[in-house]
Symmetry: C2
Subunit: 226 residues, 2 copies
């Protein structure tokens, strides 16, 4: 029941190659379909049978770990870095803009950061670090008078997850629309009055398109039904 891959015997060359192909295929599919994508699709895209996928990775979580492990560690480093900012508010906004850039560009990363997926060690570490970062920056920004004193790190996390989850819907019509929404959210955190919003607002048609996407977070369904 332990790890599927024994470190003792290095994989045979073909096995290793297939493993790489699977990770590459999974990365592509996760990026534009999210981490709930059918595993069979990934195997097909990699040009191997589904059995090979299950032989290399115990399940979805292990594949996710293999695909996103490195990039999650990168984000983790960015979080650490952000906390070293002297101006806490500047550090916070820079950090969040970086995160949202990732959420908007990569559906898989979005799933990982805006939902509670279990069983991925790197992800648990990231969540912990992320919470620590937000807590620290928010607290210091409050001390520096840049954030309203009644907001908590939990408030921020919830709002970020809610907004982040919706972002992919808007990227279809306007790739940078998230900047505007993040700015609006952050303005709600500040004690003083409003600051100008970046980027143009969505047009009504673009909004409709975005709303449509919102419902399609995952619609596997089955056959004929619309």
């Amino acid at each position: 029941m332990g790890s599927r891959v024994e470190k003792e015997t290095p994989l045979r060359r073909d096995a290793r190659r297939n493993r790489e192909m699977l990770i590459a295929a999974a990365r592509e599919i996760y990026t534009d379909q999210g981490v709930d994508a059918p595993l069979d699709d990934i195997a097909r895209r990699a040009g191997v049978g589904s059995a090979t996928l299950y032989r290399r990775f115990a399940g979805r979580a292990e594949l996710i770990e293999a695909v996103f492990g490195d990039s999650l560690r990168d984000i983790l480093r960015a979080a650490e870095e952000a906390r070293s900012a002297t101006d806490a508010w500047a550090g916070l906004t820079a950090y969040l803009e970086r995160i949202f850039g990732l959420l908007a560009a990569d559906r898989g990363t979005n799933d990982l950061m805006t939902t509670g997926i279990q069983g991925v060690p790197s992800l648990d570490a990231l969540r912990k670090e992320n919470h620590k970062t937000l807590d620290d920056l928010l607290g210091r920004a409050q001390e520096q008078g840049k954030v309203r004193p009644d907001a908590t790190a939990e408030d921020l996390q919830f709002m970020l997850a809610a907004l982040g989850r919706a972002v992919p819907g808007s990227t279809v019509a306007a790739p940078l629309a998230w900047r505007r929404y993040l700015a609006l959210l952050l303005d709600g955190l500040r004690p003083e009055g409003s600051h100008p919003l970046p980027a143009p607002s969505l047009t009504p048609d673009q909004l409709n398109a975005a709303m449509l996407q919102l419902g399609k977070v995952r619609r596997p369904r089955t056959g004929r039904a619309d």
Copy 2:
């Protein structure tokens, strides 16, 4: 291909009774599972075969219309009412709090209002009216100096959908947490400084539970997989 029910011949008594049973069952199931719930579940709960459901309703959209038609018309009236407020900002907040109360209490209504479900006439009418309401109230609130001039009705709609979609996740742990988030969002719309937040913030544990729910918007999946 027209309507499945002929108005000429009223339904036989048993047929009508089953129709009512189906609507009642659908209402219950939609309320706590959302409108993507399996139709077979609804038929089973109503105590009839799935064929009876398909005989009475052409598909999911027609059933939704039958279940939510009345309540949607109620909301529609509330929107009309809200627009008659002299103080646009007060009207807007009252309207939104009412809507969010519904979104938090009823998963089906939430799906209907935060995603772009197609094929339900009452819903199209509601969306149109809702947009008109927000546009009107926001515009007038801006003229009255209560809302920052650079925000648009589309901005508001997007943020509301994003937050509304996340609300059910928080209701498990804290039924009224949405008040706090809505207040935070609305504060971002105001030109002046911050106003006190209602309701307590989520605890870290409650936040975790909420994040977990976020991913479970719909996880039909299949068999053994976790």
